[in-house]
């Protein structure tokens, strides 16, 4: 009989230091485990606790799952202290993920903030895998400082790809930083996209998502063409435990990706 709360086993194959407080864990599940980009999993530290994360890897790669995790809470701080080959549990995948089918033939603007680039990496990789289907991919990414930038080696590789345009900014620069300085909203001017055929996807801290959404609306994006990854404290992942309610929705099963059109009448979505 199926127990919906029982995690399957996975081994931590590799741990990659991304920033001073963010690591990527490469998981190898011991049973087949598939996900769609943007869906999330509950990752269990056996006997200790679990927390929700959206994988950062290409969903087309079946045998491994990358999860990029910032050290911010009880479970994540303990995770940051485990070593390779540790056994963890995963359950899921949960939620609806990014509607990549709807992006076909479109110009795709992706705006990330901080560790919010993690789920977007999964999205980018799945878009790159079928880049013929899309007109263009434009990434705008903001981090607090140069050392907080995620995937430092990957971003330059992405920007060299055909049909891909990348700009990165930091809130606070330092001597060696030659790039943009300023909040991510400051690199949303003069975007190389045609609004009438564009969609945008935003993922980052709530305050960043709020101001980016306002900016995108200001630029002329329609609410139905702005997709947001909402963050809540999902516990069960199945629409039963009640924690992630957002108006008439549960973020875990109706999201975590919503169009702004779905959320614009919901109160306090940025809190």
């Amino acid at each position: 009989m199926k127990n919906i709360y029982k995690p399957i086993e996975a081994t931590i194959e590799d741990i990659i230091d991304e920033t001073p407080n963010i690591k990527t864990f490469v998981l190898k599940p011991r049973e087949p485990f598939e996900f769609k980009t943007g869906q999330f999993i509950e990752l269990t530290l056996p006997g200790i606790g679990e927390a929700p994360f959206t994988p950062s890897s290409d969903p087309n790669v079946k045998e491994k799952i990358d999860v990029t995790i910032m050290n911010v809470g009880r479970v994540t701080s303990l995770l940051h202290n485990v070593s390779k080959n540790t056994l963890v549990g995963i359950r899921g995948p949960y939620g609806k993920g990014y509607p990549t089918d709807e992006f076909a033939g479109k110009e795709i603007l992706i705006v990330g903030g901080g560790v919010g680039l993690a789920p977007l990496r999964s999205l980018l990789l799945s878009l790159f895998a079928q880049i013929d289907q899309y007109k263009k991919v434009v990434l705008r990414y903001g981090a607090r400082t140069p050392s907080d930038i995620l995937y430092k080696e990957l971003i330059p590789q992405w920007s060299k790809k055909k049909k891909v345009n990348v700009v990165t900014t930091v809130d606070v620069g330092e001597k060696s930083w030659k790039g943009h300085v300023g909040l991510v909203t400051t690199i949303l001017e003069d975007l190389p996209i045609k609004l009438n055929n564009a969609v945008s996807i935003v993922c980052g801290p709530p305050i960043m998502m709020k101001f980016v959404t306002l900016k995108l609306l200001d630029l002329g994006f329609k609410p139905e063409n702005i997709y947001l990854s909402m963050e809540k404290n999902m516990s069960c992942g199945l629409g039963k435990c009640g924690h992630c309610r957002l108006g008439k929705f549960y973020v875990c099963k109706d999201g975590p990706v919503f169009s702004y059109e779905q959320l614009q009448d919901v109160r306090d979505i940025w809190d």
Binding site: N3, L45, G47, I48, G73, C241, G242, R245, K253
Partner: protein, 353 residues
């Protein structure tokens, strides 16, 4: 087809005792507090040859407590065998219509949606509901405000209504029907006159309850969603939260509240997931890793409780998540009365126009 039977009181006791051989049978037991006008009823395992108590109104415990627990193990993992144990066959006697209606919310949460909760489903399948008409009500009872009658129409396996020296039984499901068949020596097919008497008794209680509720001017079912939504920014939440001590009692004793948190524990030879009832009045209910908390303030959490009950569930299930049982009113040490909160919102919504 007549699916009504008569059984005399003594025989009903014997019938339940017979059921005790194959089921865990829970029956109400009275607990009279000194000086209290309203005795309370609590469920108890039926013991041999115990006199049967018919509770005139609902028990103290919510029906959900038979299906989920304040804390329970829901899964073991990373062990060779981890099977779901079949729950004990159970009969619950003395449920009221508020319990049955409120339980629709629990069924919706655990039996529908993305996935069914197997543990809940098995318990549900292994439990028989023997409900009963209300013959009295508590001060806090307000089912009628939500168009919920003080006697069940559906959702039971067997319903009983006191009648002279015995009870009229109505069969409400296949499970109920099988029980009646199995013990048919105790039951006599009901007469039309008995059914008519039941109707009169029901009508007379409804009348009494109406007289109790009418002067209260409660918010009606068809207006409640609009009222809580338009009262989102009202000062009602601030005003009523002042006496909230964040005990979570209102949620935990509510027949419709279902929130829980999953935690992990280490046991001797295995790891386990534990499900713990949660309360949206607790300070950390909505807190995310890193410390952000969309329900930071007590007034936000109090409002969340009402939005969930009267907006979310009306949107998603077409019914408010309140059955008018009044348990939350009785349990609240801060004397926060759900009826008064709604009335205050209605008053403020009215004055805004």
């Amino acid at each position: 087809m007549n699916n009504n039977y008569y059984i005399d009181s003594k025989q009903l006791g014997i019938f339940l005792n017979r059921l005790n051989d194959n089921f865990r049978v829970f029956v109400p037991a009275v607990k009279e507090e000194e000086g209290s006008k309203e005795p309370d009823y609590f469920y108890k395992n039926l013991s041999d040859n115990q006199d049967l108590v018919f509770n005139p109104y609902r028990s103290v415990e919510p029906l959900k407590s038979f299906f989920t627990s304040p804390q329970e193990r829901i899964s073991t993992y990373f062990t060779a065998k981890s099977i779901i144990e079949t729950p004990a066959k159970t009969v619950i006697f003395g449920l009221k219509n508020c319990d049955l209606v409120g339980h629709k919310i629990q069924d919706f949460v655990f039996l529908e949606g993305v996935e069914k909760d197997t543990l809940y489903r098995l318990k549900r399948e292994n439990t028989i509901f023997i409900s009963g008409d209300c013959t009295d009500f508590k001060e806090v009872c307000h089912c009628l405000a939500w168009n919920i009658m003080p006697y069940p129409k559906e959702g039971f396996d067997i319903n009983i209504s006191p009648l002279n020296d015995g009870f009229l039984l109505e069969v409400g499901s296949e499970k109920g029907w099988q029980l009646i068949q199995q013990f048919k020596e105790y039951f006599i097919l009901a007469k039309e006159a008995q059914i008519a008497t039941r109707r009169l008794k029901r009508e007379s209680l409804v009348e009494r309850l109406k007289n109790h509720l009418d002067p209260q001017n409660l918010v009606p079912k068809d207006k409640v969603q609009e009222i809580v939504k338009s009262g989102y920014d009202a000062d009602t939440w601030q005003q009523f939260m002042l006496t909230c001590v964040e005990c979570g009692g209102c949620n935990l004793i509510c027949d419709t509240c279902h929130c829980f948190l999953i935690d992990d524990v280490k046991e001797k030879n295995q790891n386990a997931k534990v499900r713990v009832w949660d309360s949206c009045l607790y300070a950390n209910y909505a807190r995310v890793a890193g410390g952000a908390n969309p329900l930071k303030l007590r007034k936000q959490r109090l409002r969340n409780r009402f939005m969930k009950k009267f907006d979310f569930f009306v949107e998603n299930l077409g019914m408010p998540a309140c059955c008018g049982c009044g348990r939350c009113i009785e349990v609240c040490p801060g004397k926060i009365d759900i009826r008064e909160v709604l009335k205050d919102l209605a008053k403020k919504a009215g004055s805004k126009q």
